[in-house]
Symmetry: C2
Subunit: 332 residues, 2 copies
DNA sequence: AATACAAATGTAACCGGTTACATTCAAATC
DNA sequence: GATTTGAATGTAACCGGTTACATTTGTATT
């Protein structure tokens, strides 16, 4: 493997000149530059980026903490992250944490050990919390599911408003008993969406029935099971609002299995607008989130933080859209 | 940020002793060790991994080239990769290439620039092909969709046998005109599966009808469109074999849209057994691939290559399984 | 021609670890 | 007490770039 000294020798110049030729060609005379470049290609020289990064104390790597990579919504967010990072010359270290806090802390420590410059966390947990850093300008951005008092920039949806909009859609269709399949208990995202759901009920003068709220974990299986519980409860709902499309797909399967029709007997709505939402039968009514934009925004906020450009907005709220398809209909 | 010299000073020893205390504690006297460890925690010392990697010329990073991260099958493969890599102390740099060869080459060059130790490529393209390396023991493993004459270890499925098995299942149900929605033309994976399909037809004495072969690109949309073409062709098939579950889900939607029932009028089968396969309506008959095992195997082969342990099998073929669900039935 | 000044290039310290080799020190052996 | 031996520790080179500072070269000015 050739290094900069070999190239310098070949070109008959000093290592500094080689370095300068590659980093700021304009301050090297054309003749020398040509000689150096010839030597570079002769030696098939590729700078050792480990050395560069070590010296310059920047890796241009970003760590991304993803709760589950197999969730199609996150897959889209990651797509956006990847695209924006590449455009700005950063690489992405993707970490499938499965929500394990020790794993998250482990990956986050890539920053303190200088293997990466910053972290994008897609879940409401601060992996630096225990660290000395704690509240100084963290090299972190929190997106999608956001902490209540984040010590860092955030990108999120107005989940409360989105949930309210979707619930209102169901109420407009005449539904009064609306079940909800929630995300994990501790998630602020779930809390906000439940709040939005309550807002809509209250505005319509419908009393909240706690029995209609079932926990899930965003997977189709949990949607399937939760729907089973809702069908079994007395005074069963005529509509079910699921906090993710994946759960909605599971719920629809369960409803059909009970011999009921969607939306004939029960309306089902999702959240996220993943690709499969429009291929489900019936196609899902859902809230479309701009998944790729989440990723792109998170990257720009993080790079702004890293490069000390903090004039930009620190907390971004992205727009949502109610997409009405065939899985919701008038109350029978 | 504290470094090893600060710790050495604090403990009143040399930097070498600090390094030794952390890397091979047994050759340091207990008293010194205690002093050093105290200094380490006092200074909140974390070794700069960039420096370590630079010096040791190993990054313990693996680059993974994924055609599309939003494909749920790949998501599972990645899960397996991540898990195995972590177990063996490696990090994963995930790259969503979208099949662009320049992007693939770019990411692969992280190896030549020493940002990563090796590459796992999930597509049939050798990103080092142009490089000087070419055929020396490449720090690469090719998995899932595999090159015909790979210069590196591989992990794959016997796609031909799998396609034959699935086609035989359809023939056993009485189908004689079986459509196929293929993957991209150039893919060896597609070629092998078509070969298996032909094997089964030939064994059953059914003539091949080229018009029943439609190209797709593994997405639900392409399955939807291809199914439309198959429905329109005269002598339309009574069964459709799709080379991915995602395409099968698209195809089912199209068939239903034409007012036909699955499997009453037309059977549809997929390939991969993604999570949604069992949540589709009707649930998909498909070939289950051990996706996570692909990832794990690829990682072990790569690390074997990197660490010079080459006694292990160089080409792994993983088992498949025919999963019969509700989307296939007897010929009407 | 002498001086001033800018441009081009060279020299060497530096980043923060690792490790070969040198040195010190204490216990063991004669 | 002198010598041997091995364990513990220290010294400093090294990895491969970058860059502050020094030096050389070339051009413009008087």
């Amino acid at each position: 493997m050739s290094n900069i000294r070999k190239v310098a020798e070949l070109a008959g110049v000093s290592v500094a000149t080689v370095s300068r030729t590659l980093k700021s060609p304009d301050i090297v005379s054309p003749r020398t530059r040509a000689r150096v470049l010839a030597a570079v290609s002769e030696a098939d020289y590729k700078p050792n980026l480990m050395a560069v990064q070590f010296r310059s104390r920047r890796t241009r790597n970003l760590v991304v903490l993803v709760p589950t990579i197999s969730n199609t919504f996150f897959a889209r967010v990651i797509g956006g992250i990847q695209q924006a990072a590449q455009q700005q010359g950063y690489s992405v270290l993707l970490c499938n944490t499965l929500g394990r806090e020790d794993a998250e802390r482990g990956y986050a420590s890539m920053v303190t050990t200088r293997q990466a410059d910053g972290v994008i966390q897609l879940r409401a947990y601060n992996p630096f919390a225990a660290d000395a850093y704690a509240d100084t300008a963290l090299p972190m951005v929190n997106a999608c599911e956001v902490l209540d008092s984040p010590p860092c920039p955030t990108v999120k949806l107005d989940n409360r408003a989105a949930a309210r909009t979707l619930t209102e859609h169901l109420i407009d269709l005449g539904h009064r008993r609306i079940g909800m399949i929630k995300g994990p208990r501790r998630s602020p995202l779930t809390r906000d969406r439940v709040a939005g759901y309550c807002d809509a009920l209250e505005a319509a003068g419908i009393a909240l029935d706690e029995r209609l709220l079932c926990p899930g974990d965003f997977t189709p299986h949990s949607g399937f099971n939760a729907a089973g519980m809702l069908l079994a409860c007395d005074g069963r709902p005529s509509a079910i609002f699921c906090e993710s499309d994946e759960m909605a797909i599971g719920a629809i399967k369960r409803v059909k299995q009970a011999g009921l029709s969607v939306p004939g007997d029960i309306s089902v709505a999702g959240f996220d607008d993943i690709t499969f939402a429009s291929f489900s039968d019936p196609p899902l009514t859902t809230i479309a989130q701009p998944a790729e934009a989440f990723g792109r925004q998170a990257v720009s906020l993080l790079i702004d933080t890293l490069e000390g450009r903090c004039e930009s907005p620190r907390h971004v709220i992205l727009p949502f859209e109610l997409v009405v398809r065939g899985s919701t209909g008038s109350k029978p």
